[in-house]
């Protein structure tokens, strides 16, 4: 069904950013506009999600060029779910940013760039054209470069160099892959590619080409052995920026993998075992890294890597059950990882540091906030009724039925290490008494009440969504299995894009 409104979330963030650029240096106006624009974007995303849930896949042909020739935008359940999650994150982060980002950064255009980043993410989820996906990836990385380096501290710039080099390299690989695919098939439309790639004589070349996409998306989503840029750069920007990056940027790589490998390069045995090896090592190296880190944000960076392994392993098994687990975990992970970095920002505000051995006594001083944080941490670990638990059942089940015992074992190791590091963090930061009278510079107590609310409310909001995902798992499971079914059987997607040709 053709619907020209599916790009509305993109345009809302585009116009928010443009109006904010006009209001250059007026930080109060920009803050209000940012929250307003994000909330409006969320409402439109909810509407889009409901429409697609009820009436099936919606498409839009740019400038009315018919499907394989023009650029097409497709809103299926996977896209709209991710657009919805992105919009929720956008609301939370823009609220947190109003207090959590210094005025110095806002004066140099933090908010417009943030909205350009969200625009790029939503566009990448909605596009149905592989070159357009590349263009949106570039929108994402160039905005993230600016956010990463805005403020110009030494550590930030150094992290920025590593981040920039690896991400440009990833784009180059992706573009090379696109070039070869175009040379093989003569089309860029993903649905059209799905049909035409099977008619290519030289299937070895097709397999080789898919390696370019694996490397490109592998760097973006931080899988072993391509993830080293992530832990060495994610702890440097302010927490609000790290929250957006940690929650969404690696996941857009996973989204691209899901889309490309379900639609165009259906994984064969070699590809499945390659992805599986990458997943196993990602989990192991990520969790080993998390074990030794003392800075909370560095620890979370390694946990991102560790949990990306769960997702890649699920993709490697490539069956309806495994993909259901992947989608469920993706939904849970976007919410929780964003929240974790916001929590890191809040702890920084409460205590003035993020080094675990200098922290302590948070539970005694702020019991309500600590309980809120506990809910999020328990969800991350996957205590049964909460959201991290359900997707792992599916991953386990499929790992056993496909006899991938090594993956099942690393899943257990990864989960236990997560439990261990989070328990360690909880014991040190929240339960332990502050050993001696240190120079505690809590800037939180001196804040005006509405600013405290703006810091805690986003965390509360994301925690509520996480609780909803965990306690209302049946509904989320329905969505996840619907998406998984659509990823395995791509016929409806292709039909929606190309019509009956």
């Amino acid at each position: 069904m053709i619907d020209n409104n599916i790009l509305a979330p993109v345009f809302i963030h585009l116009f928010t950013a443009i109006i904010q650029l006009i209001c250059w240096r007026k930080t109060v106006t920009q803050r209000v506009l940012s929250i307003g624009g994000s909330v409006l974007g969320l409402l439109v995303a909810i509407r889009l999600f409901n429409r697609v849930d009820q009436s099936g896949i919606l498409t839009m042909n740019a400038a009315n060029w018919d499907a394989p020739f023009g650029i097409v935008f497709v809103a299926d359940t996977l896209s709209t779910t991710l657009v919805l999650l992105t919009s929720i994150v956008a609301v939370a982060v823009s609220m947190f940013s109003t207090v959590g980002i210094s005025k110095k950064r806002m004066l140099y255009g933090y908010f417009p760039i943030f909205h350009f980043l969200i625009l790029g993410l939503i566009g990448a989820f909605l596009t149905g054209d592989i070159f357009n996906l590349y263009v949106f990836f570039e929108v994402i990385i160039i905005s993230s470069f600016v956010l990463m380096t805005l403020g110009g501290r030494k550590a930030q710039l150094e992290g920025g160099v590593k981040y920039m080099a690896m991400n440009i390299l990833a784009s180059t690989f992706f573009l090379t892959g696109i070039g070869i695919v175009y040379g093989l098939t003569g089309t860029l439309n993903m649905a059209d590619l799905a049909i035409k790639i099977q008619a290519v004589d030289n299937q070895t070349l097709v397999g080789l080409t898919s390696c370019f996409f694996i490397i490109g998306f592998g760097i973006k989503s931080a899988v072993f052995p391509l993830y080293y840029w992530l832990p060495s750069s994610y702890h440097t920007p302010p927490s609000a920026v790290a929250a957006t990056f940690g929650g969404l940027l690696t996941k857009v790589g996973i989204y691209a993998m899901l889309r490309i490998f379900s639609l165009i390069f259906i994984p064969d045995d070699f590809m499945q075992s390659l992805l599986m090896v990458m997943a196993v090592f990602t989990i192991i190296t990520g969790s080993l890294g998390a074990l030794i880190k003392n800075n909370i944000r560095r620890l979370f960076s390694y946990l991102i890597v560790c949990h990306i392994g769960f997702l890649v392993g699920g993709i490697a098994m490539f069956s309806t059950v495994a993909l259901t687990g992947v989608i469920f975990y993706l939904i849970h992970d976007i919410m929780v990882k964003t929240n974790m970095f916001l929590i890191a920002g809040l702890i920084r505000q409460l205590k003035g540091t993020l080094e675990m051995n200098r922290l302590g006594g948070l539970y005694k001083e702020y019991p309500k906030i600590s309980l809120l944080i506990a809910v999020v941490l328990f969800s991350l670990v996957g205590i049964p009724p909460l959201s991290g638990f359900w997707p792992k059942i599916f991953l386990f089940q499929e790992a056993f039925s496909q006899e991938q015992y090594i993956f099942a074992l690393t899943l257990i190791i990864g989960s236990f290490v997560t439990l261990y590091v989070i328990a360690k963090m909880w014991a040190r930061v929240f339960w332990r008494d502050q050993e001696e009278e240190r120079t505690v510079n809590s800037s939180f107590d001196s804040l005006q009440p509405y600013r405290k609310v703006l810091l805690v409310l986003p965390i509360l909001m994301l925690a509520t969504v996480t609780l909803f995902i965990g306690l209302n798992a049946e509904y989320v499971l329905k969505i996840a299995s619907k998406i998984a079914a659509q990823l395995i059987d791509t016929e409806p997607y292709i039909k929606a894009v190309l019509g009956n040709r």
């Binding site: 959590g100 980002i101 210094s102 950064r105 070159f131 263009v135 570039e138 990385i141 160039i142 470069f145 600016v146 380096t149 403020g151 110009g152 501290r153 030494k154 550590a155 710039l157 150094e158 920025g160 160099v161 590593k162 920039m164 080099a165 440009i168 390299l169 180059t172 573009l175 090379t176 696109i178 070039g179 070869i180 175009y182 040379g183 093989l184 003569g186 860029l188 702890h235 440097t236 302010p238 927490s239 609000a240 800075n295 920002g345 809040l346 920084r348 505000q349 003035g352 540091t353």
Partner: protein
């Protein structure tokens, strides 16, 4: 012509990879730029080279009868060039700032421990 392009392409990729593997930041950037140019040429080459056949039809015919030059690779390359122009200019400014702060061109020197700041 294809053979010549292929050779140039291989040279660009090889030089790009070699430069990326060096430790110098400037060489890293140059390597990335060469790889990007190699990719653009690759798209051009794989779009099939056709000489003197612009994709413009006479009014009298309604479909292309002859082989014609495909305009899409050129559109793709143009887009990629514009994007890489923006990114490269950002990268140059970033490297200049880093060089001013760290006073070194060596990638191994980029490991300042985290310092505290007033921001979250």
């Amino acid at each position: 012509m294809e053979l010549l392009l292929t050779l140039v392409l291989g040279l660009l990729y090889a030089a790009g990879v070699y430069l990326i593997l060096r430790r110098s930041m400037v060489k890293l950037l140059l390597g990335i730029m060469l790889l990007g140019n190699g990719t653009n040429l690759l798209i051009f080459l794989l779009g099939k080279l056709v000489k003197g056949q612009p994709p413009v039809m006479d009014e009298s015919v309604s479909v292309f009868k002859d082989i014609y030059a495909d305009p899409i690779p050129q559109a793709l390359i143009l887009t990629a060039i514009v994007i890489s122009f923006g990114i490269t200019s950002f990268a140059i400014v970033l490297l200049k700032r880093v060089y001013a702060l760290v006073d070194s061109d060596d990638l191994d020197d980029l490991n300042t421990p985290e310092e505290e700041e007033e921001d979250l």
